[in-house]
């Protein structure tokens, strides 16, 4: 197999040579028996089923729990490449955190005219409840997933910032466990950074953000919407790995000014809530009054310093794609440095000129809703039918401020294992970043999502994407 000039192949060079991070793996792969690898491949799926690493699909009775396809060829990142990435991620995440603080306090960035006020005023994720309040330790975005795409040897771009409730970290951990069980010899011969202490780092990072009223060792709990949520497995997994309780809204209530959970020996105060529910479902008194998932009065406790909520309510603003388009300005404003990791070129359809450009070039662009996520509500021009394009054109004209447009990126490819051997598929990368008052901690690895269909650029699991183990090599 040789590289494809159109896309950057992370394993193969255009002339058929093997890029340096992959040489060790490739050498091993060449010596493997294909039939044996095929058997291992099907064993991997059985293993995922047995351990129950599934995600739930809404509205499908029979197939309530599904597996995300797993590919056993690792995605390998060299030590030097990773160092550069982490510097860029650290800078970006620090800026995001400073931006949140500013947005809920003096709004210097708006006064300075660097971003328009309407950006957050029109943003449903912006919470008036957070104005003038600083969360414990000054941390807003305790856990962040930065989605990166690659287009060349030295070209990485940030595609999305996930600061609301980024998911997928359990796949990073379980993919690694599966790979170690399948190919122990690879881990003996290659210097691969470990990811397995992520839960410990998460527990430590959350504990470091505990409120001042904490007595003794901070009590951490993971708040899940419940067993039918699509990411329930991950919630249970992380709670188990951290040694934290896994709570639902019905387990919690406000007792003596603290948020407390109903234990077998009475109500016990919780210091840090790692919530995996959206802001709307945190507190029916402050937000969605129909919610049965939240804890009445939790926001009052929060504002009086009785609990840490991770991530802080109102951080969903960062996930907005209109905000995203201003990230270069935001990074520069708060760090005084040029962004180390560039954004993908983004046209804000709210601007007249950009809208015109977008409408004229729909067949070449990717158009996204500013509040959308998960690959829903977007148009991929090059693969869309004429009818789909015309439908989208109408939506765009009706509400231009609801959309951004980006060029169709030549996402890099990494080989996957198929019946016919290795075949290139497009990938992205979501490293997981932990923020505590004194540091930004990035686990060396992340979740590589891969479009399993030939030629497809959509890597989302909700749309048939799969995952790979991600190896960061040591020096």
């Amino acid at each position: 197999m040789t590289g494809n000039a159109e896309y950057f192949d992370e394993m193969h060079e255009a002339d058929g040579g093997i890029r340096s991070p992959y040489t060790g793996y490739h050498e091993w792969f060449d010596g493997q028996d294909n039939a044996l690898l095929r058997r291992k491949h099907s064993e991997a799926e059985t293993n995922f089923r047995k351990t129950g690493i599934t995600f739930n699909v809404y509205g499908e009775d029979e197939a309530e729990e599904r597996l995300i396809p797993f590919d056993m060829v690792p995605r390998v990142i060299g030590a030097g490449e990773w160092r550069k990435l982490t510097r860029g991620i650290e800078q970006r995440v620090s800026a995001l955190n400073a931006f949140m603080h500013d947005l809920y306090h003096r709004q210097e960035i708006i006064r300075a005219g660097r971003i328009p006020e309407r950006l957050f005023r029109d943003n449903a994720a912006w919470l008036p409840h957070m104005v003038g309040f600083t969360p414990p330790g000054g941390v807003y975005t305790h856990i962040v997933g930065i989605d990166l795409v690659r287009t060349g040897a030295d070209e990485f771009f940030v595609l999305e910032d996930n600061a609301r409730t980024p998911s997928g970290v359990s796949y990073m951990l379980e993919n690694r466990e599966t790979m170690m069980a399948m190919f122990p010899e690879l881990f003996m011969r290659m210097p691969i950074e470990s990811v397995s202490d992520y839960p410990r780092r998460l527990a430590k990072s959350l504990a470091a953000c505990a409120p001042d009223c904490t007595e003794g060792k901070p009590v951490v709990a993971v708040l899940t919407p419940g067993i039918y949520n699509s990411a329930y497995f991950e919630h249970a997994f992380l709670a188990d790995q951290m040694g934290a309780e896994l709570v639902e809204g019905s387990d919690l209530r406000v007792v003596d000014g603290r948020v407390a959970m109903r234990t077998t020996s009475g109500y016990k105060a919780v210091d840090v809530i790692y919530r995996r529910v959206d802001d709307d479902f945190l507190d029916p008194l402050s937000f969605n009054e129909d919610s049965v998932l939240g804890v009445p009065g939790m926001m009052d406790v929060y504002r009086s310093g009785g609990i840490t909520i991770a991530n802080a309510p109102g951080t969903g603003v960062c996930d907005d794609k209109a905000i995203y388009s201003f990230m270069p300005e935001i990074v520069e404003f708060y760090t005084g440095e040029k962004p180390l990791l560039p954004n993908v070129e983004t046209h804000r359809c709210a601007d007249e000129e950009s809208l015109k450009y977008t409408l004229d070039n729909l067949q070449d662009l990717v158009v996204k809703e500013v509040h959308g996520s998960g690959g829903y509500g977007m148009l991929i021009g090059p693969t869309a039918s004429r009818k789909e394009i015309e439908e989208f054109r109408r939506k765009l004209v009706a509400r231009p401020e609801n959309y951004i447009a980006q060029p169709t990126l030549s996402l890099s490819t990494c080989p996957i294992f198929t019946k016919k051997g290795l075949a290139p598929r497009h990938v992205d990368l979501r490293p997981f970043v932990l923020v505590s008052p004194d540091k930004v901690d990035i686990t060396p690895g992340g979740l590589t999502r891969v479009a399993m269909k030939k030629g497809s650029l959509v890597v989302n699991s909700s749309q048939g994407g799969g995952t790979k183990d991600t190896w960061v090599l040591k020096d």
Binding site: K50, G52, E245, L246, R262, T263, T264
Partner: protein, 314 residues
């Protein structure tokens, strides 16, 4: 531990026990059916369904008793909430709910067996597969209990699981005894006829006690001996006395871990007093049926008190 988690563990093990006990009943029924003529076999299946407490549902669905209909109803009927498939679904659902309170080994034991069971029960089970299927179900229980014994922390969760197991087991044994007493033995004068020996043998098989009983009694079989064995022999893990002692130990451990006793401990002590002076003659003097009703009520009351004492529900 969260009250909701304690509740999940308690019910996870109750359902597991109930599924296992139902599988034992089926096993005994199958064995009887193999050794009888067709007419008696029909009676056997009627009795198995009745003992499993599924008569009403079954008769709403089927007009006759045949083996094939009976075991498929008990194993996999969608409309039957007490089918083994549905109960094991409850076991796994509760295991997911308490995933961070059970060991990975226990979770995998439950999950793997659920996947296998779902597959085996995805279509009607024919004659030549039914014994395998029942064996799979019993293996699932054995594996889960083994994983629990070998890997679970002896914290309160372990004792909630134990309490669920023994409350359910005692309830099931008492029900089998009661139903058999009335259905199969309207008068003690039948004792000794070959039919009744077979019926009593089936009772023993229903709780996997046939072998142990034979060893203890050198092949002699009679109603009183069996009742004594299943009610009072605390060396047999499926006797009322054994369940009672095991539950007492679980409740004592819970009180110790929590530093205080509750209503459940008080009820347990009262039940202790009643069990202490019991022998088989006093049981028969009181009336076996009356004794079993009392026992079942007390057993259920302890279960409710545990839920109260440990805040299972908000």
């Amino acid at each position: 531990m969260l009250g909701r988690t304690a509740n999940g563990l308690f019910w996870m093990f109750r359902y597991l026990e109930r599924a296992e006990n139902t599988a034992r009943l089926l096993d005994a029924g199958l064995r009887m059916a193999l050794t009888r003529d067709l007419v008696t076999a029909e009676e056997e299946w009627r009795s198995v369904i009745a003992t499993a407490g599924q008569r009403e549902g079954y008769e709403a669905k089927h007009a006759s008793y045949t083996g094939m209909q009976a075991w498929n109803y008990v194993l996999r009927e969608k409309e039957n909430p007490a089918s083994i498939l549905s109960m094991f679904g409850q076991v796994r659902q509760n295991a997911r709910l308490v995933r961070n309170a059970i060991s990975g080994e226990l979770w995998e034991a439950i999950n793997e067996n659920w996947l296998e069971m779902k597959d085996q029960l995805s279509r009607p089970v024919p004659e030549n597969r039914v014994l395998d299927t029942v064996a799979t179900i019993r293996r699932a229980g054995t594996l889960a209990h083994g994983a629990m014994a070998g890997s679970m922390l002896r914290d309160e969760g372990y004792h909630f699981a134990g309490a669920g197991t023994f409350i359910e087991r005692a309830d099931s044994i008492a029900r089998i005894l009661d139903i058999k007493y009335y259905l199969l033995l309207p008068s003690l004068s039948y004792v000794g006829s070959s039919l009744d020996t077979g019926q009593w043998d089936q009772v023993l098989r229903s709780v996997s006690g046939d072998r142990a009983y034979r060893w203890l009694n050198a092949g002699q079989i009679d109603a009183k001996g069996i009742c004594e064995f299943l009610i009072l022999d605390d060396g047999f893990p499926r006797s009322l006395a054994f369940c009672h002692s095991a539950l007492r130990a679980n409740l004592a451990a819970l009180a110790r871990l929590h530093g205080s006793e509750g209503e459940s401990n008080a009820l347990m002590r009262a039940a202790d007093t009643r069990m202490a002076d019991l022998n088989i003659d006093t049981v028969f003097d009181q009336g076996l049926h009356e004794f079993l009703i009392d026992f079942t009520r007390s057993n259920a009351a302890i279960g409710r008190a545990i839920a109260q004492d440990y805040r299972f529900l908000a």
